[in-house]
């Protein structure tokens, strides 16, 4: 099996301060990688570098494209990269309103990516939108409602539907369950887990919630001050952490 994403020595500096430094890893098809660390540890910077929102200062990011094999996304033209991010990639923001068009109906939100890749049949676009709404457990009679009329959890599910409608292969998630009630979180986790398996998605999940990665991620990367301090099998890193910082992180979780 070949990696879907091969990251080599990614560094991003903000002036003299380090955003993230020398990050390398491979992500295989169907694999879920969790990135944990406290605020300011560089996990979001890394995610944004990977997703093409930020340009790293050093390193390369190879992605296995459908048409021409492994390509360095940093060498791609912007139009190619944006095309990737509309088709093969998805980005789930922490705040649904960053990832949704709040003035456009749920159906239009889901349909946008389809129209962006050239679908021009209203009936089919709408049908697919309704199908995806039902897959994320939003009733089909809400298809014409705007996301402003949705609860936080529904907005987040709508954002996921909007992202997955074009059948991407790689999903970036930035604190996907942040700011949601725990009961809503559980539902979302269940949904994400099902979709990851069903669609064979690879995912990179950035979160500070260790419970989330335990349930979703196969592998874990722990970041501190811009550096990756520990990597490994998720349950191994959480149950037998080797690095001082990871031990601190794991032991700091409040028990319910």
């Amino acid at each position: 099996m070949k990696p879907l994403l091969a990251v080599e020595g990614i560094s991003k500096f903000y002036g003299r301060r380090i955003g993230c430094a020398s990050v390398s890893f491979d992500l295989y098809p169907g694999e879920v990688l969790g990135i944990v660390g406290e605020s300011g540890s560089g996990k979001s910077t890394l995610l944004n570098c990977l997703a093409g929102h930020l340009t790293p200062d050093l390193g390369q990011i190879m992605f296995h494209t459908r048409t021409s094999g492994m390509q360095d996304i940093l060498q791609m033209s912007e139009s190619e990269r944006r095309m990737l991010s509309r088709t093969d990639w998805a980005f789930v923001h922490q705040h649904a309103r960053d990832g949704l068009r709040m003035s456009v109906s749920a159906g239009g939100n889901v349909g946008e990516r389809l129209m962006a890749v050239g679908e021009r049949h209203y009936g089919q676009i709408r049908e697919k939108a309704i199908d995806w709404l039902s897959r994320v457990e939003i009733a089909s009679d809400r298809v014409d409602d705007r996301p402003t009329a949705f609860s936080g959890g529904m907005q987040q599910r709508l954002q996921i539907a909007r992202n997955l409608v074009t059948g991407p292969r790689l999903v970036f998630m930035d604190e996907p369950t942040g700011g949601l009630d725990v009961s809503v979180q559980a539902r979302l986790l269940d949904l994400l887990r099902g979709l990851v398996r069903e669609m064979g998605l690879s995912a990179i999940i950035v979160t500070h919630d260790l419970a989330v990665v335990r349930l979703l991620a196969d592998r874990l990367m722990v970041m501190k001050d811009g550096y990756v301090v520990e990597t490994g099998l998720t349950d191994q890193v959480l149950d037998d952490p080797q690095h001082a910082y990871t031990q601190l992180l794991v032991s700091s979780v409040l028990q319910v």
Binding site: D190, L233, D240
Partner: protein, 226 residues
């Protein structure tokens, strides 16, 4: 099937003055297909630790663990995931699942992860749940709210749904009544007959005597305290 040689482990508590706690010293263990080995020793002797090391949940500093030829010590996480999916089952004392997922799906999950069709996997899950006397009205509910004994049986169903060549059982009969214990023991017997190599922790002597071909006292692997 399970081949452990010279296995050693210690914990280093970086945040508590870098205290080094040795927990295992040169453990050796060999389990053949169809054999069931019981681990014994007082609480804290390292039974669960050894199981977790075999499962790849704990890292080891020295030695070797080979399961059906695959080396666990120093293995790539990806290889361990692959091994767990296909060859190495683990029934722990605790049930850890995504909340809200129905019991049937929890049990069918190991089969789904290796690509078995959902209807086949669900059918097999229901068979096992029936066998283990989990009332049908509970199947569509999440096991997070179940009683201890029910959760344990769900865990067992999950562990036995796939015919793993190697199986680790951490107190599988602990909170079960006599009837259900007998059923679990028969499941273990059946797995042995199928050639599964089993390592188990059984506090219940009666159960241990019934299924274990031999026992190993892990106290012998305990590091000498200076």
């Amino acid at each position: 099937m399970i081949h452990i040689t010279n296995l050693s482990k210690h914990f280093i508590l970086h945040n508590q003055g870098s205290t080094v706690i040795p927990v295992m010293n040169k453990a050796n263990l060999f389990v053949a297909p169809g054999e069931c080995v019981g681990l014994t020793g007082a609480s804290g002797a390292g039974k669960s630790t050894l199981m977790r090391m075999i499962y790849g949940n704990y890292l080891c500093q020295e030695g070797s663990i080979r399961i059906d030829g695959t080396e666990i010590v120093g293995a790539n996480p990806r290889d361990i995931i692959e091994l767990r999916r296909h060859k190495l089952g683990y029934v722990s004392q605790f049930l850890r699942v995504v909340p809200r997922v129905p019991t049937t799906s929890v049990v069918a999950d190991p089969l789904l992860s290796i690509g078995v069709a959902p209807d086949v996997a669900n059918e097999k899950a229901k068979e096992l749940l029936t066998l283990l006397n989990i009332s049908e009205r509970l199947w569509s509910l999440s096991p997070t709210t179940f009683s201890g004994g029910e959760q344990q049986r769900v865990n067992i169903a999950r562990g036995f749904i796939h015919d793993y060549p190697a199986l680790l059982l951490d107190e599988p009969t602990a909170s079960l009544d006599a009837k259900n214990r007998a059923i679990v023991l028969s499941l273990i017997e059946r797995a042995k007959a199928n050639g599964t190599a089993i390592i188990g922790i059984f506090h219940d002597e009666h159960a241990r005597d019934q299924v274990c071909d031999r026992t190993i006292d892990v106290t012998q692997f305990a590091p000498k305290v200076n």
